[in-house]
């Protein structure tokens, strides 16, 4: 990092900051619009609404059956988080600790679902899930969501496991720990921070996963984001403020978990997982 004091450099820096400032102002203004609207009595043709109210929240709660939707959402998210941890962490451990023939191919298998966009593999996946009878109910939604989250857990956990000295595991073995005891007494406590971070990110991703849930959910297995999509899609039927209130509920739900997750991970990690 070399400091530079030339005028041209300063102008260039200023231009960059202006761009990023412009982006952030618009982003925050967009979010503020939704929040403002959700508390507005009437908001037409003015800078700010005519008055403030919270009634849209109770309206949205009953109109969109948010109680049921949230319950379903949390059930699905909980199952996805637990299952992707159970499948992903052991696999990550094996991949971090062993070299075996065909390992490159296995890694590719885990990389692809993260690189291929959900809508692309979601349509054939939904077709198979409909024909096997899983789609349309909660199990289908969970299965579909696990397709990207299992590899995600694996790829986040591999470097975390690799930085734990194998000698510590060898020591546990020499002192009489079998695989199960090794896992409970040594590995699990050491891996906990990494598992927690990976699973929190899975939680946030699953809350926000629209495409796969949308393609596989039935009327009783929609998550909040899919319900929001249908509400926006059918806008005109309900008051705009009511939809905005639902959007705020969705935002708060997601952002709370994001804030918790960011206590454990760096924001760049959320996108940089695909980096090879």
């Amino acid at each position: 990092m070399v400091k530079d004091t030339r005028i041209s450099t300063k102008l260039w820096a200023a231009a960059n900051w202006t761009l990023i400032g412009f982006f952030i102002v618009n982003l925050l203004a967009m979010i503020a619009t939704v929040v403002t609207s959700s508390f507005a009595t009437r908001w037409l043709g003015t800078w700010l609404p005519a008055g403030w109210t919270t009634r849209w929240y109770s309206a949205a709660w009953s109109e969109f059956q948010l109680h049921d939707v949230l319950l379903v959402t949390f059930q699905i998210v909980f199952l996805v988080v637990v299952l992707s941890g159970l499948i992903g962490v052991p696999a990550a451990y094996a991949l971090a600790r062993r070299d075996f023939p065909g390992k490159k191919l296995v890694m590719l298998l885990f990389l692809l679902p993260l690189l291929v966009p959900p809508i692309t593999f979601g349509i054939p996946l939904a077709t198979v899930l409909y024909q096997t009878g899983f789609a349309g109910q909660m199990s289908g939604v969970v299965l579909a969501n696990l397709v990207p989250t299992v590899p995600f857990v694996i790829l986040v956990m591999i470097p975390f496991i690799e930085q734990i000295d194998t000698k510590i595991e060898q020591a546990a073995r020499v002192f009489g720990a079998n695989t199960f005891k090794l896992f409970v007494h040594v590995l699990l406590p050491l891996l906990m921070p990494g598992i927690l971070a990976a699973l929190l990110l899975v939680l946030v991703r699953t809350l926000a996963m629209f495409e796969l849930t949308f393609l596989t959910a039935g009327p009783t297995s929609q998550t909040l984001v899919v319900a929001l999509y249908y509400a926006v899609f059918a806008s005109g039927v309900r008051a705009v403020q009511s939809i905005d209130a639902m959007a705020v509920i969705y935002m708060v739900t997601t952002l709370i978990w994001l804030v918790i997750a960011l206590r454990f991970v760096n924001p760049t990690q959320i996108v940089a997982r695909a980096k090879k």
Partner: protein, 295 residues
């Protein structure tokens, strides 16, 4: 006392890295074979078993109907400009942010739109970019325009939503590649008399380029699979009828899974073609470590 020293099979396998521990990978592999590879292959075969007509009837129909084959062009016309624009914005800004001591606040703000997802961004933009929204109001107050600009239910609405979710993604990925370059290399360049532009051109950019190729691929693939915002913010029957809408309609409105699979396969192929082209070009670049000697 026996002197048999033959080695049991279990030990011989273990010497090659195959033991009980390796088997922990099996559930994950089986899961993805069943729910990722199998559906893809199933879809591929299904696409050659059309509801009517010969083996290639789906593909013939797709490429003879402008309402269908046109979606490729429509999607590319959205995805390519968005990818190039976000990359062009992300590179200089990443170079700037790299110098900051505390990047956390900025990166946190930028990760928000990615986390919230495309549906919420679409919903927000419907409010924000509308004729009475704050965006048009500000422009009119500043006197830049006299009547509201139409930014919704057309190309621009989808384009802007893709930039809002795409830019942070591209930026954070670029930043993480850039942080992987040893700062000592740039300092070495400076001591040898290279100015900021020369340092960028001769040292940083060549080292960053392979990472940028990956970033381009990922950003492009994301943009190419645009779906909810094309429906909610665009004109899904016309100028923003992207390929995922065609696939969705075939599957869930016409219940023609065979045709839907064909469209999905075409979608995957176009993505693959662009990615392969970019990665092939990347193969020509330097791809070694970006550290300064000590690995």
């Amino acid at each position: 006392m026996s002197t048999d020293v033959s080695i049991p099979l279990k030990q011989r396998l273990a010497a090659r890295g195959l033991d009980g521990l390796t088997l922990l990978v099996v559930p994950a592999v089986l899961f993805l074979l069943a729910l990722f590879i199998y559906p893809f292959l199933y879809g591929l075969f299904l696409s050659f078993e059309p509801k009517q007509g010969g083996v290639f009837a789906n593909y013939q129909r797709f490429f003879s109907d402008s309402f269908l084959y046109g979606t490729i062009g429509t999607t590319l016309w959205l995805a390519l400009p968005v990818t190039i624009a976000t990359l062009a914005l992300a590179i200089p800004i990443a170079f700037r942010v790299r110098l900051m001591r505390n990047q956390r606040l900025l990166t946190t703000i930028l990760v928000i739109p990615i986390t919230l997802g495309t549906v919420l961004v679409a919903e927000g933009l419907l409010n924000y970019l509308g004729p009475q929204g704050w965006f048009n109001r500000t422009l009119m107050t500043l006197g830049l325009i006299s009547s509201p600009v139409k930014l919704l239910h057309n190309y621009w609405g989808v384009m802007l939503s893709l930039v809002i979710t795409g830019f942070p993604f591209t930026f954070l990925l670029t930043l993480s590649y850039l942080s992987g370059i040893d700062p000592a290399l740039e300092q070495a360049g400076a001591t040898l008399g290279a100015g900021p532009w020369e340092r960028f051109k001769h040292i940083l950019f060549p080292l960053l380029l392979p990472g940028l190729a990956i970033t381009f691929c990922l950003s492009f693939v994301q943009a190419f699979s645009v779906f909810p915002s094309a429906v909610l913010l665009g004109a899904p029957a016309g100028p923003t009828r992207v390929i995922s809408i065609a696939a969705y309609q075939a599957a869930f409105e016409e219940y023609d899974y065979s045709m839907a699979s064909a469209v999905a396969m075409i979608m995957a192929l176009v993505q693959l073609a662009i990615v392969v082209a970019v990665l092939a070009a990347r193969g020509l670049l330097y791809r070694g470590p970006a550290g300064g000697g000590k690995g």
